[in-house]
Amino acid sequence: MAKKGIEVRELVKRYSTKIRKGFLRSETKVIEALRGISFDVHHGEVVGLLGPNGAGKTTTIKILATLLLPDSGDAFIEGYSVVKEPHKVRECIGVMLTVEKGFYPMLTGKENLEYFGRLYGLKGNYLKKRVEEILDLVGLKELGAADRIYEEYSLGMRARLSLARALLPNPPILLLDEPTLGLDPPSARRIRELVKNLVRKDGKAVLYTTHNMFEAEIICDRILLIDKGVIIASGTPAELKKLVRGFRAIVLKLREEVIANKLIKILNTSGYEKISKIKEGELVNVKILVEDPERELTTILKLATSHGLEIDYIAIQEPSLEDVFIELTGAKE
């Protein structure tokens, strides 16, 4: 087994937040963002931290990046403690936090990278060469964007530049917080391909947070499902899918959300529990996990038609990572 790049041990983080109770009154509430999570990331693998908003993904990344201190527990990057040796940790990591900002608007992509490169102690010809190399790697040269000012960058270009900065000092560890959030499919695919290549070729250890199941399934070697600050399941995508073994999904596509909600209500009262709803463009997908879809389908269709509900499309699918997630977290939408 490859060397451990990231070791997380019993991390706990609580935040105090003020709940407004009127114009001047407020109440302090403690939120447990992380409740003793532990995991490892080895060199040469992409580990996905997958969970809904507020699950604790960004808090984990912030602690590993030394931007936040845990209340208890510790994490080690290349053996250095994030609590006791933050400067050493920062020498080993490349971090991507948000894609829409984080650079100087009046500087070009290349100038921004040169500035951050200098802050990492890179200088002279090496810095120039490295910046050119990285711009080429992330495809900004190819797009003719290297010498354009950052203010004019599209979101896809910004994401590439953000990844370029993370890679600039050639760190062995990458911490990527939702790097494809809001990107168009080609830009998102490019980022994923780059990350995958870096792991295969350079043996980097990558922690990749996302709430996109499809993305997690295609890029991650291992996935940690996190919810309410706790890791609820972990394993390869195939291993996780086994958690809902025996089940298959009936997918019904409907035109309106009101119809979908009505159908879910009917199915619930008829004893179906594992139901989720996802919007897909104009249509709404209702997914029902059942053991024998061929038999259940007839019953479900009868229920729908008896209530006058029109279904546009029907399919039977193998369970996806999303189904695992819904099954484990109880999330319905």
Partner: protein
């Protein structure tokens, strides 16, 4: 790889000059600022008392007195703004977390950041105000402007420690940046930039004595505005200012480091 302080200064120089040359408004502001500021200080100064009253109390030319104030203010603002307010701009641009991710202390970077603007402003102030002083008072006054400028630059550098504390408090305040716009004019007022501290109430004079900026302003005024400036008094002011800097700089660095850790504990850093 750990960057040295020189690496950080070089990075800041390049970043500053690229942005400066690319933003026309910054160039215009630099050209206009000395004149506008002198006018503003004269305006505010005369609100506290008439020029006649000023002449009775202070043995100096009011115009040169306010010119010295604006010169010192221009240079001091670089430190107050580039250190204190830098956190505000960086947070808005989303660059603050990335600056905190560099493999050295953020305080070191923050200390390097005002150097380019300080150098440019000092040179520009000399270029603009020295000819004005020469026209009004002759060559001696021009030389006094140059010396004043050096004292003001030293005064600005002596303010680093306090600026770091202000910066640390700003990041701890979780985006309560408006505090800065209260602290900034208060410091300027207490340090006597708008009107002589000698004419202030005693408690304000005591407060003023704790600010290195006050001594820089006092020394600058003596040099530029008084008929026969006493070198001994100027040196005393410079010494006191330096002594305060020796006390405040390590204190500022320690306090900033503490406030940064505190912010990271409370989760106050906005990303």
């Amino acid at each position: 790889m750990k960057p040295s302080f020189i690496d950080l200064v070089v990075a800041e120089f390049k970043n500053f000059f690229i942005e400066f040359l690319r933003r026309k408004s910054l160039i215009i502001a630099l050209v206009m600022y000395p004149y506008l500021l002198t006018a503003l200080i004269m305006f505010i100064g005369t609100m506290f008392g008439s020029l006649e009253y000023f002449k009775q109390k202070i043995p100096a030319d009011p115009l040169l007195f306010f010119l010295a104030s604006s010169l010192t203010l221009l240079i001091s603002l670089v430190i107050i703004d580039d250190i204190g307010a830098r956190f505000i701009w960086e947070e808005r641009m989303g660059t603050l977390p990335y600056l905190m991710l560099i493999p050295t202390s953020t305080a070191k970077l923050i200390l390097a950041s005002p150097i380019p603007r300080l150098a440019l402003t000092s040179c520009w102030v000399i270029a603009v105000l020295a000819p004005t002083a020469i026209v009004i008072k002759g060559v001696g006054a021009g030389l006094a402007v140059v010396l004043t400028c050096l004292i003001a630059t030293l005064g600005a550098l002596c303010f680093v420690g306090l600026a770091l504390i202000i910066g640390g408090l700003l990041i701890l305040s979780r985006g309560e940046w408006s505090i800065y716009w209260v602290i900034r004019p208060l410091i300027l007022f207490i340090s006597g930039i708008f009107y002589p501290t000698a004419l202030m109430p005693i408690w304000l004079r005591i407060l003023s004595m704790t600010l290195p900026l006050s001594y820089a302003i006092e020394a600058s005024r003596m040099l530029i505005a008084f008929e026969n400036p006493e070198m001994r008094l100027i040196l005393i002011n410079v010494t006191l200012m330096t002594a305060l800097a020796i006390l405040y700089t390590p204190l500022g660095l320690k306090t900033y480091a503490y406030l940064e850790v505190r912010t990271k504990k409370l989760g106050g850093l906005r990303i």
